[in-house]
Symmetry: C2
Subunit: 344 residues, 2 copies
């Protein structure tokens, strides 16, 4: 059990899009994102609807980049952080594409890519799948902590839910329309919902690090591979706190990721410029950074093999109030650069 799933016909990510809000655009990766809104509103009049609008826009952008319409996409996997994942169902879900709603907290991008790959591998009748995940800082703060207007103080371990979204279009790499240069998902390993013992909703890095360590250790143990087989080992949004804990947990198990590990939550902001404390988080954090930074590097063959782990803290405010600890989860996918293109 707990097997690594390998795709005999790898899944190509043939189009992608990313979008962010103001703070994210002002960060070190700002110029890489496909579009941004300096007001964080994306044309809507509530923060919740702003996220719906972002979810729809980012999928439409990916479709436009591929020159395709929503009618060509057979199945859509989407999720977000709002209660009942409504940013997805009332956002990208409105395009009428057959829809599977996911809840994996900030790990939803990885869960979606994993399940979309399984669906394409299972059913020759499906030719294209889409994955969309988003988060919005103001909507998440209102829901999980306090509305921004209350001016609540944030603790040093707290992370900043990114106002961001990513969309991915996937097909089997054997399809004639799959661009040979498109990065490919060649394997995956689902995560486990592990109890972190953390009861502090402002320390999600600590809540997610054990799950990330569990998946990484299982992956290397099951495959016999080692970190040196990868150019990058990317985590979704452990932030500074969680990344330090991950290093420690892996070192205790004889694994050293030094030089290879990158965390999307750490990359998204410049801590000297943005007051984001331990770094970025949210379903849109890993999705937008994967889309804007790592996939293009795979397309250009600057990177050849990337281990991507989205990380999620399955945190309910009700359960924290009832004294329960937070479970973390970290699904993994193995990304490789396409067969051609990018070579100099």
């Amino acid at each position: 059990m707990r097997k690594v799933i390998r795709f005999s016909d790898p899944v190509s990510i043939y189009a992608r899009a990313s979008a962010v809000g103001k703070t994210e655009y002002d960060g070190p990766l700002g110029a890489l994102f496909d579009f941004h809104d300096g007001t964080d509103r994306f044309g809507a009049d509530t923060w919740e609807k702003s996220e719906e609008s972002l979810s729809l826009a980012v999928l439409n952008f990916a479709l436009a980049r591929a020159g395709e319409s929503q009618d060509e996409i057979d199945l859509l996997f989407a999720g977000d952080l709002q209660n009942q994942c409504v940013a997805s169902s009332s956002g990208c879900g409105t395009l009428g594409i057959p829809y599977c709603g996911l809840y994996g907290a900030c790990s939803t991008s990885g869960e979606g890519l994993l399940l979309a790959s399984l669906a394409l591998a299972a059913a020759p009748s499906l030719s294209r799948a889409a994955v969309v995940t988003t988060s919005h800082n103001a909507a998440a703060e209102r829901q999980f902590r306090l509305p921004l207007e209350y001016g609540g103080q944030r603790s040093p371990t707290a992370q900043w839910t990114a106002t961001a979204g990513g969309a991915f279009l996937l097909c089997r790499s054997s399809e004639p329309f799959a661009p040979p240069s498109a990065p490919r998902i060649v394997a995956c390993l689902p995560g486990r919902a592990l109890d972190s013992g953390v009861t502090d909703g402002a320390n999600m890095g600590a809540a997610m690090a054990p799950a990330a360590a569990d998946t990484i250790l299982r992956y290397f143990s099951l495959t016999g591979e080692s970190p040196s087989d990868f150019d990058r080992i990317v985590t979704g949004d452990l932030g500074a706190e969680g990344s330090a804990l991950l290093s420690e947990l892996l070192r205790d198990n004889g694994l050293d990721l030094r030089g290879r590990h990158r965390d999307c939550g750490v990359l998204l902001f410049d801590p000297l410029k943005a007051d984001v404390h331990a770094g970025g988080s949210g379903c849109g954090c890993s999705a937008s950074v994967l889309s804007a930074l790592f996939l293009p590097a795979l397309e250009r063959k600057e990177l050849r093999r990337v281990l991507f782990l989205a990380t999620g803290a399955l945190m309910s405010p009700s359960c924290l109030l009832q004294g329960e600890s937070i479970r973390g989860i970290a699904p993994l996918i193995v990304l490789e650069s396409g067969k051609t293109g990018g070579d100099k």
Copy 2:
């Protein structure tokens, strides 16, 4: 696009379990459920934790029935109605089985069976998958409407969120351990998140009926089959109101399900005895009734072919307050009785 997915190696539901609370046990199907708790508490001291406990118990019951341990299950799909789907991640998710969290509102049982079937079809390295969905009346009322203690009045179209859960263990029917008599999932059709135009959170039947009609009409149009090819066409929890609307919508499109249609939300309660208004609902409603009533009838070959549509209202209280309407969704699976067994 929007294709029916057929499984060349159908997926067997080789074990199942169901559990309910007091009102459900007192209903017409009471004696069929595997276990119940007359206090609705399932040993926990809050309603939210009661649902976690129910989620864990119903999966353990299915494992015990199959004589298997959690270590033999490769992948778990689960979801519920609590915010952040925490009843699942902190319920059945605690067994350490690789976990995919789903949010499909009351349609999650169907979404889970569909995605678990796709995963088994995709990956020969996976041999067993589990699907668990639950709901709890008191936890759902507190979250979506008012805590029970407030004694809120309910409108005639309101449904009663069932305190119930269902667990299913699945494998490819070609596996040597698959019981030949086990009911099989032979095909599926994902649902679409359709706007119902309904803004009344106390009329979810009306919010779900258009999505159910959409999936049924697409299925028959894509396959060329007709209702007479099925012994039963089962919807998840449209209730009395939604079932009447479904009939009307289908009749307008020239389709008549008379005599064949059953709704789990209607079957679960006796309206003369339980004050449940339009009937049952919740992620556990269709899961428990499928597990306790329809799967055994397929095992005994009293039924041979069943079209099962779980139905969900993707409703967020925040969005209703912001004037948005509710989207409905209805994933479909085609169930057939096993190859042997049950014949007289």
